[in-house]
């Protein structure tokens, strides 16, 4: 074999491995989301349930480029697949939806509002746009301490979230500081019921990159290979010191805003548009057509995901709920400065 053939083959292997690894997270994300939907319908989940259906490829492809323990990640409401790719345990995800006291949020916060900030996964607040500058701050701290090295931070946001002042301020400030911030905008055409036309007036949100003086990229977010490629490139650019990267992926939200919403405003025209493909179905087709996995192997993977998800939710359901009587009702770290009730 010539050197060129060897290179081509190894890069093809790498591509296949990345594809399969990301697909695995997409599948786990989808199976977990489906499980949540059925638990919600059965009245087993208090509060909202928001699904990432249709966004798995985009979400997993970003997180696939991140290094748990090194990079900073701020997932949002439709990033079950990405959280999985970044190493979140299914049990911790299930615990947060099911209100287990053993979960990372201990029942104090729920559903998608979860994370482990000291280990690089920020716990979103609901206020859209607010997480971006916090990722910047984590990167800035590392730079100040001389530990930035080739770290990146990634912040996820929706089309609607780009309309916030917080988004604008954060992207601009990160650009001024030339921070390695990757902003992943998932344009799923709607913000709750509001379509793109009522959200922004540019043709493509990536046009804003020029205004901020940052590099911009667009991708068909239904296409896993394309998502892997765009994030590989954008993350590499950020790591190499080229400043913030604004990535815009186009897709359709294949669910209601939350499970309480049957989304009557999503019309047939949207469902037939090119962005409306189901990334999980398309990725699976690619795997089969490329001969990377057999139907039987894919079925096994599906079964394994289902079993792990079922086990995680079953465990979380059996765990104790938070007990108000033994709860510490102190919001401060500096407990002796807290007013009101002391530790129980």
């Amino acid at each position: 074999m010539t050197q060129r053939t060897t290179d081509r083959l190894s890069s093809e292997t790498a591509r296949r491995d990345a594809f399969l690894a990301a697909y695995r997270s997409m599948l786990y994300g989808r199976v977990f989301d489906d499980k949540l939907a059925s638990l919600y319908r059965a009245g087993k989940i208090v509060g909202g349930v928001y699904l990432g259906r249709g966004q798995e490829a985009y979400s997993a492809a970003l997180a696939h480029q991140l290094r748990p323990g090194r990079d900073v990640y701020a997932p949002l409401i439709r990033d079950q697949a990405g959280r999985h790719a970044f190493g979140e345990s299914l049990l911790d995800a299930a615990r947060t939806f099911l209100g287990s006291a053993s979960g990372p949020m201990r029942g104090r916060d729920g559903n998608i509002h979860r994370g482990d900030p000291q280990n690089g996964t920020l716990a979103m607040i609901s206020h859209l746009g607010a997480m971006l500058s916090v990722v910047s701050g984590a990167l800035l701290a590392r730079r100040l301490r001389g530990e930035l090295d080739d770290c990146v931070g990634a912040a996820c946001i929706g089309d609607g979230g780009t309309s916030t002042g917080s988004f604008h301020e954060a992207v601009n400030a990160a650009a001024v500081e030339k921070l390695p911030l990757v902003i992943a905008v998932a344009n799923n055409q709607f913000a709750y019921s509001t379509p793109n036309e009522r959200q922004f007036a540019c043709d493509n949100l990536v046009q804003r990159a020029a205004g901020y003086g940052v590099e911009g990229h667009t991708v068909d977010a239904t296409d896993l290979a394309a998502c892997l490629e765009v994030f590989e490139h954008a993350v590499a650019r950020a790591r190499a010191g080229n400043g913030p990267q604004l990535v815009v992926g186009n897709l359709l939200r294949l669910a209601g805003h939350g499970e309480h919403d049957d989304a009557p405003y999503i019309t047939d025209a949207h469902r037939k548009a090119p962005y409306a493909g189901d990334c999980n179905v398309l990725a699976r087709d690619t795997i089969v057509h490329s001969g990377w996995l057999s139907e039987a192997e894919l079925a096994d993977l599906q079964t394994q995901a289902q079993q792990e998800v079922d086990a995680a939710t079953a465990t979380a359901q059996q765990e104790a709920a938070p007990d108000p009587a033994t709860q510490s009702w102190v919001a401060l770290f500096t407990t002796h400065l807290a007013e009101g009730e002391a530790e129980p």
């Binding site: 989940i45 208090v46 509060g47 909202g48 209100g99 949020m105 029942g107 104090r108 916060d109 729920g110 559903n111 509002h113 607040i125 609901s126 206020h127 859209l128 746009g129 609607g160 979230g161 309309s163 916030t164 002042g165 917080s166 913000a191 709750y192 019921s193 509001t194 009522r198 959200q199 922004f200 405003y265 709920a321 938070p322 007990d323 108000p324 709860q327 009702w329 102190v330 919001a331 807290a338 007013e339 009101g340 009730e341």
Partner: protein, 321 residues
């Protein structure tokens, strides 16, 4: 026919739009979709062009409303949740609240805040923000506790030539029903005796009025008649009605769902202490939420905020003082 608190809010906006062409509604998902809670359902079709979807830009939503108000319009801004009004805070407290005082130009905007806790809503979809807004001069803050007030006070809010923060309680949206809408209601700034009594006064507003009424039912079984005052409006605060009640009962418990530091209950206690000290037979008491963010889990949430049970316990303590 029965009408819910939420329907009353929709009906009030319908009537405001019908009666005054200067009224329009601006907020996220308020048009065809009718809003996250359906408080504007059908209004966009009925009043074409006057019920507009906003981008997720609370600062711009409020700023736009203020600009329109300067031009003589009477905008209603819907926040999707009260909690997100924090993003529009600057425009409300620095622009809207100061406009008339600085320039003599009135600022008739109404900002609707779907407020308060419901099980499972967590730290960012549960807040009661009335105290924050009431702190600033130049703002009126209303907290209706009944279907009738949700309707009448919202109509009045839109008619008032000043910024009004309209705190509507999400827990009451579906739980409260009335037979019909009122023809007239008490004016803004006047409290209401929700239940007459002689042994102690509970001053409350919004959803806490109903918890207080339940607590009063419990205390009646022990032979106590509790007077429950529904403030209706947090600012202006009807100090006279509160003092008159305390003059009858000699004991005061102020109850609010908001955080304990400062706030409406502190204001009530402070006014009674300074203006009605001689009326008191016992130290005036307050009961509020705990001093932590609002928890997600219903087990924690139901202990975090005052309930009929904790109000009843606080009343028993007060009656022993």
């Amino acid at each position: 026919m029965s009408i819910t608190y939420l329907e009353a809010i929709r009906e009030a906006q319908d009537r405001a739009l019908a009666e005054d062409p200067a009224v329009f509604i601006y907020g996220q998902d308020v048009a065809e979709f009718g809003g996250a809670f359906k408080a504007t359902r059908g209004l966009c079709d009925k009043y074409p062009g006057r019920v507009m979807n906003a981008p997720i830009s609370e600062d711009a939503m409020v700023g736009t409303a203020i600009g329109a108000a300067i031009e003589g319009m009477r905008p209603i801004v819907e926040m999707q949740f009260a909690d997100f009004s924090s993003v529009g805070l600057n425009q409300i407290i620095n622009q809207a609240a100061t406009l008339h005082w600085r320039t003599g130009t009135p600022c008739p905007i109404t900002v609707r805040l779907p407020s308060g806790g419901t099980p499972g809503s967590g730290p960012f979809h549960s807040q009661s923000m009335e105290a924050l807004y009431a702190h600033y001069p130049g703002i009126i803050v209303l907290c209706p506790a009944t279907v009738e007030d949700a309707y009448g006070m919202l109509l009045e809010a839109v008619a008032i030539d000043d910024p009004v923060i309209f705190c509507e309680h999400k827990y009451l949206y579906y739980h409260l029903k009335a037979e019909q809408l009122p023809d007239e209601s008490l004016p803004v700034g006047r409290a209401r005796i929700a239940r007459a009594g002689q042994h102690a006064t509970v001053v409350a507003y919004s959803a806490m009025v109903h918890e207080a009424l339940l607590a009063a039912d419990q205390l009646r079984q022990d032979g106590y008649e509790i007077e429950v005052i529904d403030l209706r409006s947090v600012k202006p605060l009807d100090t006279d009605s509160v003092l008159a009640s305390v003059a009858r009962t000699g004991r005061l418990l102020a109850v609010g769902e908001a955080f304990p530091w400062g706030g409406a209950t502190a204001e009530v206690v402070s006014r009674v202490a300074s203006e009605g000290f001689h009326l008191l037979d016992a130290p005036p008491q307050r009961l509020n939420a705990k001093d932590t963010p609002i928890p997600y889990h219903p087990n924690l949430w139901s202990v975090h905020r005052p309930t009929a049970g904790s109000i009843a316990a606080a009343l028993h303590d007060l009656l022993r003082l």
